[in-house]
């Protein structure tokens, strides 16, 4: 939509930087906003915290002015709807293999006729005009992860789904799936990432990617990925803490 926050930023030529919060702590979300990130993802798949922590993190995201995405535990329509009702602008759904898997996620995100999201936007209606479902559908971000061999094999079909707004590449899982090792710099992985970006562009689907560190992320910014994460909160903290210890304790 013309003025849908976040979607407009994603459509710009500037890659957006997304913080990745695993701690489930609202203060961390606020800190990421203060640091200047463009968006935040609350990770419920591998992150800590429960539903109550998620709601607190989403409240913090709104206070910090950060568009918030949630990665649910699994590709489950109930978990997806629950995250959206709690105020997430979108979801990043893991463990997708087929176009049918992806389509079920899109349908869980979008209201009819595009999908079958259940009505109950208790917190999310603070942020969107829920009297017009087309506008809400244009606001929400339906994103699936491309991290399995199946998802790569079925990429074209997945990207052509009506209502799919974005794909997020997880190189760590993708490396495991394609090479049997966690070698995110393996040529198969780099080629798959390049292919996903190219195909997503062709289909007008936003392309997001997780980078473990700054060195891995630099070429991704140059390549023009729409949304990039550089490390999760816990790796940023561990990295900074490790540096202090190495400096003073050797």
């Amino acid at each position: 939509m013309a003025n849908a926050p976040f979607r407009q930023s994603l459509a710009s030529d500037t890659p957006q930087l997304m913080a990745w919060v695993t701690y489930g702590v609202p203060y961390v979300v606020e800190q990421m906003g203060e640091a200047g990130y463009d968006a935040v993802l609350i990770d419920r798949q591998h992150g800590l915290g429960d539903q109550s922590d998620l709601i607190n993190c989403l409240t913090a995201a709104r206070a910090a002015g950060l568009p918030a995405l949630v990665r649910p535990l699994s590709p489950d329509a109930g978990l997806i709807g629950s995250a959206l009702d709690a105020g997430a602008q979108g979801v990043v759904v893991p463990l997708i293999e087929t176009a049918d898997d992806a389509e079920a996620c899109v349908r869980a995100v979008k209201y009819a006729p595009k999908g079958m999201r259940s009505w109950g936007p208790y917190r999310s209606q603070l942020m969107t005009p829920h009297d017009d479902l087309d506008v809400v559908n244009a606001w929400t971000i339906a994103c699936v992860q491309i991290e399995t061999k199946g998802a790569v094999d079925n990429l074209e079909e997945i990207l052509s789904l009506d209502g799919l707004d974005m794909v997020l590449v997880g190189p760590n899982d993708l490396a495991t799936a394609l090479t049997g090792k966690r070698d995110i710099r393996a040529s198969e992985v780099i080629e798959a990432c390049d292919l996903i970006l190219k195909k997503a562009r062709e289909r007008n689907v936003f392309a997001a990617i997780f980078a473990n560190d700054i060195d891995y992320a630099k070429p991704l910014f140059e390549a023009g990925w729409d949304l990039i994460t550089v490390g999760a909160d816990m790796s940023l903290l561990a990295g900074a803490a490790g540096e202090v210890v190495r400096t003073f304790k050797g």
Binding site: M1, A2, M127, P129, D134, V135
Partner: protein
């Protein structure tokens, strides 16, 4: 404010700090704009609502509001309703006033 350009600038400033208000108010403005244009074209009843919904949908096409302007411009031309570009844009600005007021009143 002397012109709708000034008014637009004032809103951009206000909206810079309130992206949610901008989003909600724009959607509401588009609906009001659709109702206005439907009236000019002599529509009544459900046709007005359907047309207004079409204007809201037109704004989903691309960033900015030229997509909305183009739709209104094209539909009024097709219906041979005389309205200058200036009149349409002025009305878009005035209806944004109303939309913001409506949304802010609903917040209270």
């Amino acid at each position: 404010m002397n012109s709708f350009d000034d008014r637009e600038k004032a809103y951009e400033k206000k909206f810079a700090h309130d992206a949610e208000l901008k989003f909600k108010a724009t959607a509401r403005r588009n609906k009001l704009l659709g109702i206005w244009a439907a009236g000019l074209m002599g529509m009544t009843g459900d046709k007005v609502d359907d047309y207004a919904k079409g204007v809201v949908l037109a704004d989903l096409e691309e960033p900015g509001e030229e997509d909305v302007f183009r739709k209104i411009r094209g539909d009024l031309d097709e219906a041979k309703i005389e309205q200058s570009d200036h009149q349409i844009r002025r009305n878009m600005a005035e209806l944004m006033d109303e939309a913001v007021q409506q949304i802010e009143n609903e917040r209270e």
